[in-house]
């Protein structure tokens, strides 16, 4: 295995992006930030990979026009996943492992506000017996939240505590689209929305984009004194149907956690678009009470579709670069009710123990 590190990260999050769904105009300044962080030009990038969704954009091959933001003469080595940035990063990590390239810039974008997000996402469900009912994202999360409440695993107060901590932490995040803690009592006094969820239990509809730069070995050391070395990567998926899953658990998250070493993780950025999902993930990942979760405010403070998972990895990496922590976890999810889960463990020390 080659030692690969996260060495660059840029993001934009906003409630509504006043521009085209291909987000080209949003991506150009993100790439400029990545070039500034690394000292590279686009010709130093060995591999490009993007994450986005045609259903979100409302047009086919939406990622092709986004390639304008790269500049493609001479031609570039490029790929795309209809997944979150985190999975695009996984593909780029694999590409670097092949030895074909030493560097990669991965990016993702999505204009969630172009359609009705909770409805558009029905297109990622099982197409025979679920999509024709158009179950919306919030409802599917509500079923999961109820299952946990009924099982006595959490209650509305525990969910509100997650929101309260997230929105308070988000006050320190310039990219957050929602922030400002109040109190658990004040949150619980808010009206119910999709019972058992209040609006603050659900991530805000967010437009945005993000980019992550990866580099191997000395290329990474050339960029940063403390590169965020990827010491573990793992992802698993649960069945599509809701009824055959134990919604109070996330078997795929637990399985992913078993594939990496989480000992000593100081900060975990968890992609939990609904408050109770942070509680599910904490349990499945076995995170102790001393692990600081989502100091950025997490997805409840901003959840740009197809970027928000990767942003968790980027946020974790920045805390390694700054010297604040020596080991951090980035987590991304996709699909309904934590169906798919990806873990990326970042270390200040490179020791080539990715297995």
């Amino acid at each position: 295995m080659r030692d690969v590190a996260v060495v660059g990260f840029a993001q934009r999050q906003m409630l509504e992006f006043d521009g085209s769904p291909t987000c080209v105009e949003l991506l150009v300044p993100l790439f400029e930030e990545c070039y500034a962080q690394t000292g590279w030009t686009r010709r130093d990038v060995g591999f490009w990979c993007s994450g986005s969704s045609d259903y979100l954009a409302g047009r086919s091959f939406s990622f092709v026009q986004a390639v304008d933001a790269i500049g493609v003469i001479p031609p570039v080595n490029e790929s795309h996943v209809e997944m979150d940035l985190a999975w695009a990063m996984y593909e780029a990590w694999l590409k670097i492992q092949t030895g074909e390239v030493d560097t990669a810039l991965v990016y993702a974008f999505g204009k969630s506000s172009a359609g009705t997000l909770r409805r558009t996402l029905s297109m990622q469900l099982e197409p025979y017996t679920m999509t024709p009912l158009w179950p919306d994202t919030v409802s599917l999360a509500g079923l999961q939240a109820r299952a946990g409440i009924d099982a006595g695993l959490w209650d509305e107060a525990a969910m509100a505590q997650v929101v309260q901590r997230s929105l308070t932490d988000a006050e320190g995040n310039d990219h957050a689209v929602r922030s400002g803690g109040s109190s658990v009592e004040a949150l619980l006094a808010k009206p119910m929305y999709a019972d058992p969820l209040r609006k603050h239990d659900c991530a805000p509809v967010t437009d945005g984009a993000a980019a992550i730069v990866l580099a191997a070995g000395d290329r990474a050391r050339g960029v940063r004194d403390r590169p965020a070395w990827i010491s573990g990567l793992s992802h698993f998926i649960d069945p599509m149907s809701m009824g055959t899953r134990d919604l109070t658990r996330s078997a795929s998250a637990a399985r992913a956690a078993a594939g990496v070493d989480l000992t000593g993780v100081e900060v975990a950025e968890l992609h939990a678009p609904f408050s109770h999902q942070e509680l599910v993930l904490r349990r499945e990942l076995g995170l102790g009470g001393d692990v600081r979760v989502n100091p950025s405010g997490g997805a409840l403070a901003g959840n740009p579709m197809f970027s928000a998972g990767g942003i968790r990895i980027g946020e974790a990496a920045t805390r390694i670069w700054s010297g604040e922590v020596d080991k951090a976890l980035g987590h991304a999810t996709s699909g309904p009710a934590l169906q798919q889960n990806l873990l990326c463990v970042l270390d200040a020390d490179a020791f080539g123990k990715v297995a």
Partner: protein
Amino acid sequence: MSRTLSAPVTVAFDYTRSTGPVLGRFFTGLRDGVVVGGRTASGRVVVPPPEFDPETHQAITDFVEVADTGVVTSWTWVPEPVAGQPLDRPFAFVLVTLDGADASFLHALDVGSPDEVSTGMRVRVRWAGERVGAITDIGCFEPEARGFVTGARAPSSTAGATSPTAEPVTGIVTPVSLDYVYAASPEETAFYRGLEQGRILGQRCPTCHKVYVPPRSACPTDGTPTTDEVELSESGTVTTFCVVNVPFLGQRITPPYVSAYVLLDGADIAFLHLILDCPAEDVHMGMRVKAVWRPREEWGTTIENISHFAPTGEPDADYDTYKQHL
């Protein structure tokens, strides 16, 4: 004024899918008023039947009829239904485990308020009036007692009114219709606002000096934002073209007609439009053409302000003037 132009767009199409032997059996059952589950190797009855056993990975071949009554195992309230959902008024999405099954499945429950739903409550299927072999043949669930009170639904013994000789269901059609507010980029917005004034606007890349029309947010050659606005000539050269002979839905011009790439004078990328006012067979590479605008009172923020391009009668352009743009 918003920075960019936007307009509503609806993307609609039908997904047509074959069902295979397992889901086909399930949908055939629904059409006939019977709910069919599949038994896994561990003995669990799962509805809808999975195609493959999640534990042994063997194909599911053991089908079991289950009741159309069951119990709610989880629920959530839907205060603002979206288009396509089973009910157009507030309702509950529920996970229901039918009597005789060991796993729940997702559907809607028709109740008037969240106070009328609870985990553990008994519910029964309300069959759709017309059944076609789809998950929507279950119109929704309703509280078990209600059907008897109102007499609104037939007992399950008569729900299967379809003739047993009917063909099995082998396919489903799922209509998809998604509404968007589609926004132009700032550069495209400038282009359309220019057209509203009878001007064709492009942008020049500050790095490679190429001129793009319609303008793009970034130069695709080198990734630089294209910031320098350029007003282009309405005359140009046909670089390539095709004669449209095929009629299609929504066609507004009777074939044959010509769709062509026109390289406007001063531009570095060709522009797609119609060539009219001459026989289709006369159109050729290098032909000089000029924009024909609709009457000014019809102009909007649209490329349709230019009706088409027409031959100017000038001598053909020299091949060397456009060979880099083919």
